[in-house]
Point group: C2
DNA sequence: TTGAATGCAAAAAATTTGCATATTG
DNA sequence: CAATATGCAAATTTTTTGCATTCAA
């Protein structure tokens, strides 16, 4: 664990959900010397293979990293306002079971966000 | 509906699921003059707002387009072998209901793929 | 003829890679 | 000392934009 990786990990922890880009920015603003983008990308990759962080895809262009222990919920991205809600993974247990039974596929609903409309945007439609 | 858009639509129809890039390639191989990428991107956008096609995100780097009437299933992407399975949207009805009840969020499980492990890869682990 | 669509080339944005240097164990 | 990580710059990849030209109603 190098100092750079520690700073990247701290940034991920502070931001809760952050794209590599956001991590680069946050690390640049933490008082120390900025890190080069490649270092951040490589640090995230290393931290992920160490099991310290994980990532989720909120949309097609944004892997967002989070601490590994912050991985047990489903992300709900609103198509209207872009807001990101969460719901307990439990809500998908039945779905995961159905998929397993129907196709043998072991689904991980936390890895990619579910898109749709939040309560506010849905009621406007 | 211009001839270019028709060719783009034909390519989407023939490929079933295709990234913009793949559409550019397919259209270039259909015998006619190749279309410039910008035309394909704009045609897909136009066809989508006309309701003729839709898109799904299979991974973070690939919006895949399909005919609009080919939109009622959930995509299952295997992390092991990359294979894309499908399952009926019905399997997720309970999940969508749970999410709605818990958060008011109207989920569309067809828009982004679910990641996990296919039967074969799952049994190897 | 009037607005929309196309093609091209250049611009952006987001990652990735090569390689010399610095760091870690 | 040997292996790994970093920083920088350049290369890739994917998508978007500006603008002159062409097409269609």
């Amino acid at each position: 664990m190098t100092p750079q990786r520690q700073r990247v990990l701290d940034a991920v922890s502070a931001l809760a959900h952050a794209t590599p880009d956001e991590v680069v920015t946050a690390v640049g603003a933490d008082g120390g010397t900025p890190l080069s983008p490649s270092t951040v990308y490589r640090a995230l990759e290393a931290l992920e293979s160490l099991g310290a962080v994980g990532h989720t895809h909120l949309d097609h262009r944004a892997p967002t990293y989070h601490l590994a222990d912050h991985a047990d919920h489903v992300h709900l991205v609103c198509r209207g306002c872009g807001r990101v809600d969460q719901c307990d993974r439990e809500a998908a247990a039945g779905f995961e079971g159905n998929v397993l039974q129907a196709t043998g596929f072991v689904a991980d609903v936390t890895h990619m966000a579910i898109h749709g409309w939040c309560r506010a945007c849905a009621s406007q439609r």
